[in-house]
C-alpha cells in the first residue's frame, strides 16, 4: 500500500489528467450550452422569437407534460423487457457457446454480427420482416396457418416489435461478456458441487450464477445507459407511432429540440433524463459495492 500512497500524486497527474482534461474540455461547452438553453425560450429555427430567460418553466413543462411522462413510461417498459430478455437469452447462449465442442468458436463469432450493424440500418432490415403483408415473418407463419401479426401497425404490437429488434441486436453483447466470464471460472467449486451430487440446475444457480454476478451487473450497467437512449431503431420503424405507442424519451427530446425547435424544452428534458438515469445507475452502483463487500 505504501507504494500506492507515495505514488498517488504522480498517478493522478500523469494518468488521470489526460482523461479528465479531454473529457472536461470536450464536454464542458456543450453541457454549459445545454444548461443555458434549458432556462430559455430558445427556438433555433425562429430567431424572431425572443430568446428570453424563463426560469424553471421548461423543467416545469417537461415534468408536468403528459407526453413526457408517457414517453418515460414507454422507455421504462421497453428497457425492462429488452434487458430481461437480453440477459436471459444472452446468458443462456453463453452457457451453450462455451461448451467445449468443435465449431463453437465460429458460432460465437457469427452470433456477434447483429451488434455490428448500425441501429438505423437494423431498423430498416426489420421493416422487411415486420410488414404485415409484405414482410417475411407473416409470410412464413402464414405457410403453417397462423394468422398475420400486425407488428409495427398496431398499438398493441409495435412496442413488442421494437423490443424484439433491440433484443436481437444487443443479446450478443451480453453473450460475449458472459461467455468470457464463464470460461475463466475456476473449476474447483464445480468439482465440489458435483461430488455433492447436485443437479445441473442447482450447480448453475448456486455455483455459476453467484460467480457471474459482478460481470452481469457491469454489463447491465452499460446496457441500461444505452437502452435509456434508444432512438435510431424507433425513428426508422415507427417514429413513435402508431399513435404515440412507441414514443420514448429520446424521441420526445428529438421532437422538442429539432422538429419543434424548442431547444430549451429539449435541453430541460435532457437534464431530467440525465438525472433519472444517474439515480438509477447510482442505485446499481451501490448494490454492486454492497455485493462486493458481502463477498
Amino acid at each position: 500500500m505504501g507504494y500506492v500512497n507515495r505514488r498517488n500524486r504522480t498517478i493522478a497527474g500523469v494518468f488521470l489528467l489526460p482523461t479528465a482534461a479531454v473529457l472536461f474540455l470536450t464536454t464542458i461547452y456543450p453541457m454549459l450550452y445545454a444548461l443555458y438553453l434549458s432556462f430559455r425560450n430558445y427556438d433555433l429555427a425562429k430567431p424572431f422569437i425572443p430568446r428570453i430567460f424563463v426560469g424553471l418553466a421548461n423543467f416545469q413543462e417537461v415534468l408536468t407534460s403528459g407526453p413526457f411522462l408517457h414517453s418515460m413510461l414507454i422507455t421504462f417498459k421497453l428497457m425492462g423487457v429488452t434487458l430481461f430478455f437480453q440477459f436471459v437469452i444472452g446468458v443462456g447462449l453463453a452457457l451453450l457457446v462455451t461448451q467445449r465442442l468443435p465449431g463453437m468458436a465460429a458460432i460465437r463469432t457469427l452470433l456477434l454480427i447483429p451488434m455490428m450493424i448500425s441501429p438505423v440500418i437494423v431498423g430498416l432490415v426489420w421493416l422487411f420482416i415486420y410488414f404485415p403483408e409484405l414482410g417475411y415473418f407473416n409470410y412464413f407463419i402464414g405457410l403453417i396457418g397462423i394468422n398475420p401479426i400486425p407488428w409495427i401497425t398496431s398499438t398493441q404490437w409495435a412496442l413488442t416489435a421494437i423490443a424484439i429488434a433491440d433484443i436481437w441486436q444487443w443479446t450478443p453483447f451480453v453473450m460475449m461478456g458472459t461467455a468470457a466470464a464463464l470460461q475463466s471460472l475456476s473449476p474447483e467449486p464445480y468439482e465440489a458441487a458435483r461430488i455433492d451430487g447436485n443437479s445441473n440446475i442447482d450447480v448453475f444457480l448456486h455455483v455459476t450464477l453467484p460467480q457471474l454476478k459482478p460481470v452481469l451487473i457491469s454489463l447491465l450497467f452499460l446496457r441500461a445507459i444505452d437502452a435509456f437512449k434508444i432512438y435510431d431503431i424507433i425513428f426508422v420503424l415507427t417514429k413513435g407511432g402508431p399513435g404515440d405507442a412507441t414514443e420514448t424519451i429520446a424521441l420526445y427530446i428529438y421532437r422538442q429540440s429539432f422538429t419543434f425547435w424548442r431547444m430549451g424544452v429539449g435541453a430541460a428534458a435532457s437534464f431530467v433524463s440525465l438525472i433519472i438515469i444517474s439515480v438509477l445507475i447510482t442505485l446499481f452502483f451501490k448494490s454492486m459495492q454492497k455485493s462486493a463487500a458481502a463477498r
Binding site: Q99, L110, S118, V125, A180, D232
Partner: protein
C-alpha cells in the same frame, strides 16, 4: 467444465443451431435484398427466389464516392478507437490505483459523460467545430466519439487493472522502475486483453454512429453509415442500395472482431471476474 456425452452434445448443437439460424435471418435478408432487383424488393408474398443482380453495388460506387465514405469511416473509427483506448487506459489505471474516498465519484463523473442524450449537444458541437474550422473533418467526429468511448474504456479497463496484483508492481519498483515504466512494462501487458475488448466496443460504436456523423460532416468527411442512409431520399427509399451498403460496411466490423476474437474472450475473463 465436464465433458459432454454424445446426447448432450447433440442437444447443445441443435439448440445453438436453431438460435444461430434465427439470429442470422436478418443478416441473410440484408444480403438477399442487396441482390434483389428494385421491382422485386417488396412483393406479396415476399420473393424468396429471384435473379440476383449486382446493380445496387455498382450504383453505390458510381452514384456516391462510397470508397471514400468507407475510408472516412475507417479514419474516424480507428482514430477514435486508438485515442480513446490510450487515454482511457491511463485514466483507468489511475482510478484503479489511487486510494481516495472520492475516487468513486470521479469514476461516476466520467461515466455520466455517456449518459447525456446526444441530441441535446449536437448544436453546440456544430457551433464549436464550425468556429475552429473542424466541421466536415474526421477530427470532429473523432473528438465527439471519444467523449462516449473514453468513459466506456475507463470503466472496463478499471476492472482489468484491479485484477493485476499490485505485488508485481511493487516488486518492479524495488528493481528501480519508475511509475510510468511500471505501467507500460508490467501492468499494461497483463491487461492487454482488456484493451482488445475496449477496442471492439469503441470500434462498433464509432463505426455505426449516425446522428453526429450526419450533422457534423458534409461530403469531405461523410461516413459510410450516413452515405448509406442518404439513399433514403425525398422521392424514394432506395432499399437495394441501402442494403448493399449495409452489407459492405458490415465487413470491416467482422474483420475487426475476428482479429480481436482470441484476445476478446481471454480479455473479459481476466478483467471482470473476481
Amino acid at each position: 467444465m465436464n465433458r459432454l456425452s454424445t446426447r448432450q452434445a447433440t442437444l447443445v448443437y441443435s439448440v445453438t443451431g436453431i438460435i444461430l439460424i434465427i439470429f442470422m435471418i436478418p443478416i441473410y435478408l440484408i444480403l438477399a435484398s442487396s441482390l434483389k432487383p428494385s421491382a422485386d424488393m417488396f412483393s406479396r408474398p415476399p420473393t424468396v427466389f429471384f435473379t440476383p443482380t449486382l446493380q445496387h453495388y455498382v450504383d453505390l460506387f458510381t452514384l456516391r464516392p462510397f470508397h471514400w465514405n468507407i475510408i472516412n469511416s475507417l479514419i474516424v473509427t480507428l482514430g477514435s478507437t486508438v485515442f480513446s483506448v490510450t487515454i482511457g487506459a491511463l485514466g483507468a489505471f489511475a482510478l484503479s490505483r489511487i486510494r481516495h474516498p472520492r475516487i468513486n465519484d470521479a469514476a461516476f463523473w466520467i461515466l455520466s459523460m455517456r449518459m447525456f442524450p446526444p441530441i441535446a449537444v449536437v448544436v453546440p458541437y456544430y457551433i464549436i467545430f464550425k468556429s475552429v474550422g473542424l466541421l466536415d473533418t474526421p477530427l470532429a467526429l473523432i473528438i465527439v466519439y471519444s467523449t462516449a468511448n473514453i468513459p466506456l474504456t475507463v470503466w472496463l479497463m478499471k476492472g482489468f487493472f484491479d485484477e493485476v496484483p499490485e505485488a508485481l508492481e511493487e516488486a518492479a519498483q524495488v528493481d528501480g522502475y519508475g511509475i510510468v515504466e511500471i505501467f507500460y512494462r508490467i501492468t499494461l501487458p497483463l491487461a492487454a486483453p482488456g484493451l482488445a475488448v475496449c477496442a471492439v466496443f469503441c470500434f462498433i460504436f464509432s463505426w455505426n454512429e449516425f446522428l453526429f456523423a450526419l450533422m457534423l460532416t458534409g461530403s469531405s468527411a461523410q461516413t459510410a453509415t450516413v452515405a448509406v442512409m442518404s439513399f433514403w431520399s425525398s422521392d424514394a427509399v432506395q432499399w437495394g442500395r441501402i442494403m448493399a451498403g449495409s452489407f459492405i460496411i458490415l465487413i470491416p466490423g467482422v474483420i475487426f472482431v475476428l482479429t480481436c476474437q482470441k484476445w476478446l474472450v481471454k480479455g473479459l475473463t481476466l478483467g471482470s471476474v473476481k
